[in-house]
Amino acid sequence: MRKVLLVLSALVFFASQVIAQKIITGKVTDENGNSVPNASVQVKGSTTGTVARSDGSYTITVPTDARILVFSAINMADQEINIGSQAVINVSLKTEERALQEVVVTGYQTVRKKDVAAAISKISAADIENLPIPNLAQAMQGRAAGVIVAAANGVPGGSLSVIVRGVGSISAGTVPLYVVDGIQLNTGLGSINTQNNPLNFLNPNDIESIEVLKDAAAASIYGARAANGVILVTTKKGKVGKPRFTFNSFLGQSSPLGKVEVLTTQQWYKLRVEALVNAGATPASAASTALSNLGLPANTPVGKIDSLPTYIWQDAVFSKGVLSNVELSMQGGSSNLTYYVSGSYSKQTAFIKPTDFQRGALLSKLSYEINDKITFDNSLSLSTFSQNAPYSIGNTGFGNPAYSSSMILPINPMYNMDGTYYGMPGSGQSMVGTFNHNILAIGEFVKYFTRTNQFIGSGSLSYNIIPELTLKTFFGVDYRLTLDHRYQDPRVNDAFAVSGRLSDQVDWNTNYISTTTATYRKTFKDVHNINAFVGIEYRKDQNQWFEANGQGFPSFMLQYMSAASTPTNVSGQWTASSTFSQFAKAGYSYLSKYVFNYTIRRDGSSRFGANNKFGVFHSAQVAWNAKEESFMEDLRAISDLKLRYAFGQAGNDQIGNSLYAQLYGANRVYGNGSAINPTQLGNPDLTWETRQEHNLGMDIALFRNRISLTVDVYKKTNKDLLLDRSLYSTTGFSSIRQNLGSVENKGLEFLLQVTPVNKPFKWVSTFNIAFQKNEVLELYDGLQSLPGDASIRVGYPLGSFFVAQWAGVNPATGRSMWYDINGNITYNPTAADRKIIGDIYPSHFGGWNNTLSYNGFSLDAFFQYEYGRIRSDGQFQQMMRMAGATVNTLLYGYDNRWQKPGDIVPVPRAFNGLADYNSAGWGSGTRYLFKTDYIRLKQVTVSYDLPATVIKKFAIENARFYVQGINMWTYTKWPSYDPEFTGDNFGIIPQSKNVTVGLQVKF
């Protein structure tokens, strides 16, 4: 094939040399007469072309038989001029009407927005420019209606969950399919450190657009991978013209959103005595116990207690982080070659040391028209990013500063007089209280490091057999190597006894994809528009890792495995999957009025059992561009009106690689002899989860697009959910994985954009809101709740809390009360008293963006909000132990606690051991469940573009200064650090407040 192409191109080249030529000159201007630099001038249907000079003038040599010249420039509509006998051709290009010509990337092709009949959200480069975010998915937060993007915490480059139109699965994956420039990414984690994300590889400023295929109809062309939605990322590419450089850099600082107020040593002592007395101790023994808890002798006089110091650990641990980014890109091209090359380096450190993120990334894109029929495209993304991970996330580690800084007893100092860390193991000193690790020392000594090297590259060849028919073949690779190095320094508490501990892991992820499509696009008789393609695709994913662990390091200076005196264990694994697919689309539109699209995809996956190896997924979409009707022509107020309906199917294949198979594993030993045994029950019926969805939508624009509104309403059902069905033991197994049960999501999405003021002061306001309702429709065998998880119940949403309700504090006794199922007070709620109390997904959420611009100044303010979500505040719960254990507690609890009969307060009496007499645990039921509702000024940017008169002197095209703030203001009632997280909020690094200043120069 390749040889044929080469011969073909050589022939074409040769032919062009022997034809007679003539010279044409002229000038390209815009509608106001200003010159348009860098416009492309090209002979239609050939590779002959040139680029206009900076004053808009051009000279081109064309063959005498050339008939038409095509003029094009950025943001301008293309114009075609008949050459005839003219030698001078001056052209005035019109600024492109965006709304009309806007294109949308859908699966495997780009189409006019007019021809789209499904639900697709688009985010453009301008929306997300210069955000200090390591992860491209974060760019969608609050900007795509119906897409919940939730960072697990504030760790830079940390984990993130993206849920498109509600969760539709119980035990299979819920991660959307990410497709970057045609390459389907593997989003499996490769790191044993808890905070890692494979989407960190791309510099968000290299993104041209992000399209979210939200409904099943839009996603259906991706078949068995599409049930969780599809996110198409298109990176920037070069445009014809002389080289254009963009330099961009910003620098800034991150700081904590807030701290929590905790007790002084004296307050804690008082509360501790109270807790002990409430639990039955005599005042004298309580005082002596409390003193010994503080490491003091029982005979310490009151005066001495009053003068004890209070050390504020949060102040010592929460410092400032640094944000920096520098990037340079170059793009341009001649008539047959365009390029875009961008290099960037960014670094972010969290406000709790040593957590950070650094990335160096290179993106290179090349498009070469070999001749007028054949185009070669190449894209290379090389990226390396490193992270110093937090020592631990969650409530497992006393060495986790985000967890313990508020709970270390305040009598513990951080440093000795000589500047060394206080209370280190082996020093003879020890910190008092449960939290007895010097977290500052751990931050300095412990090294949890993750390095990811990622290569994503593709090459493709397009062949225009005839102008209407294009054959394209594409090959892409997504290769990721993740290296973890977890060194617990021998000086810290957790590793002192074993003289240091090291765990090294290497994880290789190789994923390749090959796609071949034939696309046919043709307009017949000017009214029938056909857009059809067929394609085949093959994708293979392979993952391999190994891990080595050792301990016993002679010195903290020796931090690699060779120094470990005792290897503790090694492990490794391999897994792979492959999918082979055929797909097709038939699109027809009549006069752009009536649009019909039909897609079909057949996927065969190695993940499915023999009886269900192949899945077929259809979608059918219709749209009516009402504005195109003649009777609408006179309705000038309506500038656009479109109604759409789509139905589609998609599958979720994130069910694990060989769960259908009956396998024997080698994980047993008998008297030192190896053994293999059946490890899972075979299920040849095991297959994808199916999503079916109806989507009804409307797009309306009024008053020359000054107001535009998009509304979508959907109902989606996910069925054949992957569940472990419990088995009776006489089968020899405890469960079998089957496709059972179904879940429904219903929702309504609005996107409203208004431009109240246009010139010279301009204000554009974009608001989106999504309402969402999730419900489990069916489990199996008529079960009303899952045997293994009582919170998954028919008729209720996934992610629900199923607990007893807290009833506050008994004013007479100060004890915590709960409601039983009948609404009566109880101190010991049982399993039967549990009720569904809200769930972990917001019921309505979205964003509101405002851009105000005047004369080069612009102000961008972006709010995001979430309502109707409930979470358990683990951190708050731990900080509310009220001296019932030897940990520091919140001042809020101290100030609002019950002290005497008659006190009507929200906080029960302090009680040693936490659970009051004959009572449920202190954190039982809904006591620490809170709404996370918030409105947040997520991003505010003020920028100033230097006026043209000034920049001309420096021969630059554009220069912009900007100041940006992230998370500057939040409205919430969430009790601990921050409401924006996922999980149980135990000891996570919260979100931070970031301020950056930047400069962007184009030349």
């Binding site: 057999i465 093959y538 293979k540 897994t575 009956q662 024997y664 594993g665 053994a675 040849p684 089968t731």
Partner: protein, 485 residues
Amino acid sequence: MKKHFKIFISLSLGLLLYSCNKDLQHPVPQTSITDATSFDSPDRILNQVRSIYQATKSGAFYGGRHVVYGDIRGENFVNETSNLVTGFDVWGLNCTNTSQNSVKNLWSAAYYAINLCNVFIDGMDAKGTSVVGAALSANYMGEARFIRALCYYSLLQYYARPFADGAGSKPGLPLRLTGIKGSGFSDLARSTVAEIYTQILSDLDFAEANLPLTNASALLNVTRAHRNTAIALKTRVYLSMQRYGDVITQANKIVTAGAPFTATSGVAHALQANIANVFASPYTTTESILSMPMTSTTGDFPGTQNQLGFYFYNNGSVGSSEYSLNPAGIISNASWTVDDKRRTDLIFTNASGKKFLAKYKTPSPYTDYVPVMRYSEVLLNLAEALARTNPGVDARALALVNAVRKRSDPAVTIVAATQAELINAILLERTIEFLGEGLRNNDLMRLLQTIPAKGSAPNKAPTDPGYIWPISSDELSLNRLMTDN
């Protein structure tokens, strides 16, 4: 135009055809073996045999808890920790359908092993025999059926009424004889106790006929079944069925007519001069007919809170003193003299004066082999069968019980004036000899005896609820044909 259409259509068809021809590449798992190839090589087959034993060795089963429960249901131990995880409910004879660590876990562990046996037997029939040849296949099948018999027998002792109650007519167990590898099995009701025993005996007869006479090493003679292992288990099974004549027939195959009593064919089983050696490394004396091997390799030891030493022993960091010896139990018996090796060597008194069993005392991860059957049991099974069959005082029975006693306490000679005295002496000897080896429950059950009270735990008459265990709640809720006790 039509031409273009034709090109497009033919190209599309071409693509589709191309894709149909292309085989869907199927990544074969590299870290597991698929069902299709699991019987393809002698190595894989041998690994599956080991896996069957390994499943039997599970900490919830013969690796620990089954043995522990066999003793703590009886009267000779006192619970020290009131911990439900370590069998407080078993000891107190008040297990419920949802008792996780006893009722539920033993049930699933035993049936897990049974399924492995069934999967193996099916696989050998389908393919394995042609891979390893008929002779070796017969050996392996014998092992699988031996283990299946052992599992069913062990389950009967906890979850079904003793055979003596209605001659096996009471509900027994769901009898699964085909392997489950995938979906498509159906619910299964309980067979009667007698039907289960019939299957056990059929399996053991097969095993006797097909197992090798001896294995390749002393270690394998103790840890893998051979012909005498099957015969020895039959003596236990027949004793539980009170078919004493059959006990004698079977035992005579491996016990000589007179002292010193030994097995003269197959593995040369014999009593060891010092009983303590049986419980000491390397644990591979000819007295041990079957033991579960333990090593310090990960996965090859009993696991947390399953270890016999953890339950019964207490010396420094070894053992958790979950159960001490009941001062009013067998250790209070005066005829068991202080000089008996089983007192001097196998009982330990801690600092506070409590007595603990010292048969298992290697430190964590507790690598004492767990005895399943010892030759002394065969001797006492035979003795009891003889004593019960022959009126008066059977001389050989008396000689057998004295062989066991005098090995540990040469100064004492057991005497019996009547048949009843002889039987009682043998039963007493069993209690002493097998203390902490899990046989006490079997003995109480087969004779439908009242379980004596101990400490805070009351006695249980055979008619009392709790005399046998209830059925696992999981089984009851999911297997619709299952019935509770």
